[in-house]
């Protein structure tokens, strides 16, 4: 087995070549120096190499997934229309989404172009290379078109794949208006479950027949989507709305927030806040945000023995030093936290 730390999506092609030569590969974040050499578990098919990826999955906690290379390749969509396409994407190469778009490009004899939310640079690359297709989160694409002024070209790809976070209706409308007749594909997927549903709609809704096509059983209970696989029910961790044979993903149930496609462990934020000086209790929750999909709201209670202003400014500095930027609470709410039913924490504004 080999460990690879791709920096850009283009590096994945070399990973795929290793897999084609029968070598199992563990793909890691280039910044993770503590990854230990972990032997790949036995493949379902003798002689089939496996690709290992760390993903936060449905829990927000990093978890290692191994996927059979042959099975991964079966996910490539082959069509004369998309042979040789240049795909552009801001997805990171050590993520499931990054590997998916890289594999699609590699498997169809195409190319891949890494984008990174540096809008001037991304538009420069788009102007120079004019990618045929793009795979991105709705938030990334929405911001890309918002920063289009001054771009040297009026770019219209042949195809847009959206994924990584729920597609909000107004975002979908803006994308559809900007890209006109482009073919959209909204993909709902999870690392441990693979592709769950696909839809050409830009309002975030999926047909429930998509679930039946991939899972022998599925259910939505109290807005939680669960799927039946290999003899047991698996929670997607997502909250969904359902109506008229359709369903739409609203976001994570609890425990994690999806901030612009990046998962935040809310329990960890809560624990860190409670370790800050002068904070008696704290709860981090996900709240919807029109720009990022979700953001973190921190409800906190100050120990009455401490000065409120000093504690609040200290808390903000403390969390900003301890957490990555996307995990910083954007809403700070000083309130009274109480114990509710079954001793679970309730919070209410003062």
């Amino acid at each position: 087995m080999e460990i690879w730390r791709p920096v850009i999506l283009e590096d994945l092609f070399r990973v795929f070549e290793r897999l084609e030569h029968g070598v199992s590969v563990l793909v890691c974040n280039a910044g993770d120096k503590d990854i230990k050499d972990t032997p790949a578990p036995s493949s379902a098919s003798a002689g089939t190499p496996r690709l290992g990826l760390y993903s936060s999955g449905s829990t927000g906690e990093p978890k290692l997934f191994w996927k059979d290379w042959d099975r991964l390749k079966r996910g490539i969509s082959y069509s004369q229309r998309c042979n040789g396409w240049l795909w552009a994407s801001p997805f990171l190469p050590w993520t499931f989404a990054g590997v998916s778009v890289g594999l699609q490009a590699w498997g169809t004899g195409g190319g891949i172009l890494s984008l990174n939310a540096d809008w001037e640079e991304d538009w420069r690359k788009i102007s120079v290379y004019s990618p045929d297709a793009v795979s991105a989160t709705p938030t990334y694409l929405d911001l890309l078109i918002q920063n289009e002024a001054g771009a040297e070209c009026r770019w219209t790809p042949n195809h847009i794949t959206l994924g990584g976070e729920p597609l909000r209706p107004n975002t979908g409308r803006r994308l559809a208006r900007r890209f006109g007749s482009v073919r959209f594909l909204n993909i709902y997927a999870a690392s441990e479950l693979g592709v769950i549903a696909k839809s050409p709609r830009v309002d975030g809704w999926f047909d429930v027949t998509q679930l039946a096509a991939r899972f022998c059983r599925w259910r939505i209970e109290e807005k939680r989507l669960e799927l039946f696989r290999e003899g047991c029910w698996i929670s997607t961790g997502d909250q969904v709305d359902a109506r008229d044979g359709m369903f739409r993903v609203n976001g994570r149930i609890t425990g994690t927030a999806n901030v612009g496609g990046l998962k935040v462990d809310l329990n960890r934020v809560s624990a860190l806040a409670e370790s800050a000086r002068g904070i008696r209790r704290a709860t981090a929750v996900a709240t919807s945000d029109s720009l990022l999909g979700q953001t973190v709201r921190l409800n906190y209670e100050i120990d009455p023995e401490h000065e409120e202003g000093v504690v609040e400014s200290g808390l903000k500095e403390y969390l900003r030093a301890k957490l990555p930027k996307y995990a910083w609470p954007r809403i700070w709410s000083h309130e009274r936290v109480e114990i509710g039913n079954n001793a679970k924490r309730l919070s209410c504004d003062t």
Binding site: T139, L143, N170, R173, R174, V259, D289, L291, W328, I331
Partner: protein, 79 residues
């Protein structure tokens, strides 16, 4: 505080937090003009304050603002 004062104050506060040295900026600048050193996460922070202060969610509008002047205009149009 009127919209222009709040927006200017927020932008410069975050700009300074990110290591910037500007003391003023043109309202005709794009929201994430590179000189302002504001990324999407900072933008979300600003929009939370706008929503809290003025009850409007700029990026939920069908035509979201592209410049700071357009954002202020959107807020003033709602007041």
């Amino acid at each position: 505080m009127n919209p222009e004062e709040l927006i200017t104050s927020l932008v410069l506060k975050i700009h300074k937090r990110n290591g910037g040295v500007l003391r003023d900026f043109s309202l005709d600048m794009r929201l994430m003009e590179s000189a302002l050193m504001i990324d999407s996460l900072d933008m979300a922070e600003i929009m939370v304050e706008v929503e809290r202060e003025f009850g409007i969610s700029p990026f939920d509008q069908l035509e979201p603002p592209r410049t700071w002047r357009e954002l202020i205009g959107l807020i003033e149009g709602r007041e």
